[in-house]
């Protein structure tokens, strides 16, 4: 019996050791793409639903001798899906990935993902150009000199060298003008829509006091993720949407939520709430409730993440719900300065999420094909195809005689003539090509928003103005710190991150408490994150790790 047991244990151990000692995969960087060989690809992402069912797909499939099968990820469970498939070696050939350094390194060590060949200007000129433009820290995708993930470039910040977030206030200028004409404001409405935080407070209060949206008028309502935005006016580093760790005078990291100026901002937030200026049921909000309240003409000011496409959705939704109103007056951008007389914003990478490539199924030949397609998407031709449709049918290069329906593409210094159908109002109707989502195979599709004929020029100009307005001199920028983002060894940091959720939850609990004064809220908040509390202990562990 004993001998049998020993035999079984030894066998199992041996099997385990044998299975662990797989040889490392080798890859050949110099393989060139041979388009005569047919390749089947799988692509795991959110976009591209409907891929394979239209003429644009047929064009791409024939041109690159490829069949692409879409694997749609579930947004809420994307991390679980990708991790599980990675552990089981069932990743699609090309998969969406959000950088988590621990997972990334594990995948590399386990040959779950493979490196890309070196992107050279000669072989992949468009990808090379994109790679040079990516900032601030594309080096995070390189390990031992090899690139293991492709960052997907955003075209959002087209009109600024600063890569800032797109959060913006929007307000009912029509209401504000009405109040101004009745002498109910102590300041003159600025023509350039630039306000101080004190003016925003007065305006929001005036909306509420004068029932501009009926009995339940809301002065200010934030998008759920950004609650509460006004803390940013006092402490950008301590604003929940931008909460981060900053170095004090001794060079040690401290948490932005406990800075003195953040506590001042929290007290001010309580004051807004107690005066009825801030949405009274903010603690129960979910998702885009702020937009629904705005569409319903209940809210006077809202704060949301508004790149071009999102601002377009906001305006479209408002116009659909209020066809009798001037949508541009009712959704006017509001540029707000904080107590330091500066706008506040956060530096973002100009890319978001990555492509990773399956180390077991993506051969060198397949990799070459993938990069050929990616390079084409980033090229002038690929860009025009994925933006506008098929050449000769949906668009054509403009001749000198063409004066109508032309669009100048700044990136490629070329002009096209759009041949889309028009509706009864003369507006362009986008051709129905679900495969246009293939742009996300290489990069984010937000660059198209600037040229999308379906988006009114005024909406694009408003977002452009917000980008151009903010400079390094007039904006407090919460800088992107790669040291914080890429920490691999910090177990506590990776587990707890920046305590955004705890921060927001505690604020919701304290501020809504009717019996609490501003001072009570501030002291309870500090207590909640102090050394004696459970959250405080976790925070201290993270700070100790960062300051090692």
């Amino acid at each position: 019996m004993r001998k049998s047991l020993i035999f079984v244990v030894l066998s199992v151990t041996l099997m385990f050791l044998v299975s662990c000692s797989k040889p490392k995969l080798e890859f050949n960087d110099t393989v060139t793409d041979d388009l005569s060989v047919h390749i089947d690809l799988t692509w795991g992402a959110f976009s591209g639903a409907g891929l394979g069912s239209d003429d644009l797909y047929d064009y791409i499939s024939e041109r690159f001798n490829v069949d692409i099968k879409m694997v749609t990820l579930d947004w809420n469970e994307r991390l679980t899906q990708v991790r599980t498939w990675a552990m089981g070696n069932k990743l699609p050939d090309v998969t969406f990935f959000e950088m988590n350094k621990n997972d990334f390194m594990d995948y590399i060590d386990g040959d779950v993902i493979r490196p890309m060949p070196t992107i050279t200007e000669e072989q992949y000129p468009n990808l090379y150009r994109q790679l040079q433009s990516m900032k601030p820290y594309v080096e995070e995708t390189f390990v031992d000199g090899k690139q293991y993930a492709w960052p997907r470039l955003s075209g959002q910040n087209k009109y600024t060298d600063l890569n800032l977030d797109s959060f913006m206030y929007v307000y009912r200028r029509d209401w504000a003008e009405e109040l101004e004409s009745e002498g109910k404001l102590t300041f003159e409405l600025p023509d350039d829509n630039t306000f101080t935080i004190e003016q925003v407070k007065e305006l929001a209060k005036a909306f509420v006091d004068n029932n501009m949206g009926g009995e339940d008028t809301i002065g200010l309502i934030d998008q759920d993720f950004a609650i509460p935005s006004i803390i940013g006016a006092y402490s950008p580093n301590g604003c929940p949407a931008m909460i981060t760790y900053v170095k004090d005078d001794n060079g040690d990291y401290v948490w932005g939520g406990l800075l003195d100026e953040t506590i001042e901002g929290i007290k001010e937030f309580k004051d807004w709430y107690d005066q009825g200026i801030y949405y009274q049921e903010f603690y129960a909000m979910r998702g885009y409730d702020n937009q629904y309240k705005y569409y319903a003409s209940q809210a006077g000011i809202t704060y949301d993440n508004l790149p071009v496409i999102n601002f377009h959705y906001l305006r479209s939704g408002f116009a659909q719900a209020n066809p009798e109103l001037d949508v541009y007056k009712a959704t006017t951008p509001m540029y707000v300065k904080g107590t330091n007389d500066k706008f506040w914003s956060r530096e973002m990478p100009n890319y978001w999420s990555y492509n990773i490539y399956n180390g077991r199924t993506v051969t060198d030949e397949k990799m070459a094909r993938i990069l050929t397609i990616q390079d084409w998407i980033a090229s002038e031709e690929g860009t025009l195809y994925t933006w506008f449709g098929i050449k000769g049918r949906d668009w054509e290069y403009a001749s000198e005689d063409d004066t109508e329906d032309t669009i100048y593409i700044e990136e490629f210094d070329t002009t096209i003539k759009l041949m889309w159908e028009k509706d009864s109002n003369g507006n362009f109707v986008s051709p129905n090509y679900p495969t246009m989502g293939i742009r996300n195979f290489n990069q984010l599709a937000s660059d198209f928003d600037w040229y999308n004929p379906s988006i009114p020029k005024d909406t694009k100009e408003a977002v452009k103005a917000w980008q151009e307005l903010r400079t390094e001199e007039n904006t407090y920028i919460v800088e992107y710190n790669p040291e914080l983002t890429l920490k691999r060894d910090g177990v506590n940091y990776l587990r707890n991150d920046n305590f955004f959720q705890e921060y927001q939850d505690k604020l919701k609990q304290l501020v809504a408490e009717d019996d609490y004064t501003k001072e009570d809220v501030a002291s309870e908040f500090i207590k909640a994150f102090s050394n004696e509390s459970s959250i405080g202990k976790k925070l201290n562990r993270v700070l100790n790790e960062l300051n090692e």
Binding site: G50, E77, Q81, T84, M87, K90, Y292, A296
Partner: protein, 295 residues
């Protein structure tokens, strides 16, 4: 001869009865109202919804949201897959649950306690997502509709309920069948199951609901979009903030809105279960406690 009529004496309701009636009525209303509101949100245009999301009597009604749902074929694909999973999976579940439960209802056999304990342990502990994934994929079930059917074979809780119920059936029934030469399968099929209708109906309904609500295995094991179950498609729809209306019929584009489309999707997915339940309700009420109480 005069027929004797016995008048039933009506019980006089006292204050306690009224309190119970009112409490249960309020409870019932609190359950019905969300369903009703969901239906209302699905049939109103956005303007009506925005005035007040809590709708009792809509000012206007439209089927635009339902038309938008059915303009996308993915919901119909999901229906087909889930229907297959239910039609194949439920008999598979019932077969395993009742045979296993019947076997464990026997008084004595070698290893019975060990097997029973192993089964009970699985109610409290599992190997985790990754080992589960690896086991199922090692069986060649990845991206296969069978991954939605085979892994979920026995629900141990239902099996224990069935086992407890079988233990209450008089042994004399089995013994007389054995005397007549019946084997165990024959006894199960001809004697045990016919007297177990209440518990069968209960477990049948539980299994149907479980299969209908299946999405987790779809999330892990299915990559082909045509094989995605209905609930997974519904999740994707609910997670979508802004719907691309350009693919929808032009006549309804201005009428549809995100919350309305979501409400319509949820209602369409819920409807089959709501239609099935009344037919098994009689047995469900009898059976829901039978298997869990030992006489």
């Amino acid at each position: 001869m005069k027929r004797l009529r016995i008048k039933k004496k009506r019980k006089k309701l006292d204050i306690i009865d009224y309190i119970v009636i009112v409490t249960l009525s309020l409870f019932a209303i609190s359950i019905i109202i969300p369903f009703y509101n969901l239906l209302m949100v699905s049939i109103v245009p956005q303007k009506v919804y925005l005035e007040n999301p809590f709708i009792m009597i809509p000012k206007m009604a439209t089927l635009a949201n339902y038309k938008a749902v059915f303009s996308d074929s993915s919901i119909l694909d999901g229906y087909l897959i889930t229907l297959i999973v239910v039609l194949v999976g439920v008999p598979y579940n019932l077969f395993l649950i009742f045979t296993f439960g019947y076997a464990l209802s026997k008084r004595k056999f070698w290893g019975k306690n060990f097997v029973l304990n192993m089964v009970i342990i699985t109610m409290f502990f599992s190997g985790g997502t990754i080992p589960y994934f690896l086991v199922v994929t090692s069986l060649g079930l990845f991206d296969n509709i069978l991954a939605l059917i085979l892994p979920y074979g026995i629900n141990t809780f239902y099996m224990l309920i069935a086992r407890n119920f079988f233990q209450q059936i008089p042994k004399s029934l089995e013994e007389s069948a054995k005397i007549d030469g019946a084997n165990e399968f024959r006894i199960l099929w001809s004697i045990i199951l016919p007297v177990s209708r209440p518990i069968m109906a209960t477990i049948f309904l539980f299994c149907v609901v479980d299969r209908w609500n299946e999405w987790w295995n779809g999330l892990l094991f299915i990559q082909t979009k045509e094989l995605r179950p209905l609930q997974l498609i519904l999740r994707n729809i609910i997670n979508t903030q802004n719907f691309n209306t350009s693919n929808m019929p032009p006549a309804i584009q201005h009428l549809v809105f995100s919350e309305g489309i979501k409400a319509a999707n949820i209602f369409i997915v819920m409807l089959p279960i709501m239609l099935v339940y009344p037919f098994v309700q009689k047995h469900f009420i009898k059976g829901v406690l039978i298997g869990s109480i030992k006489s």
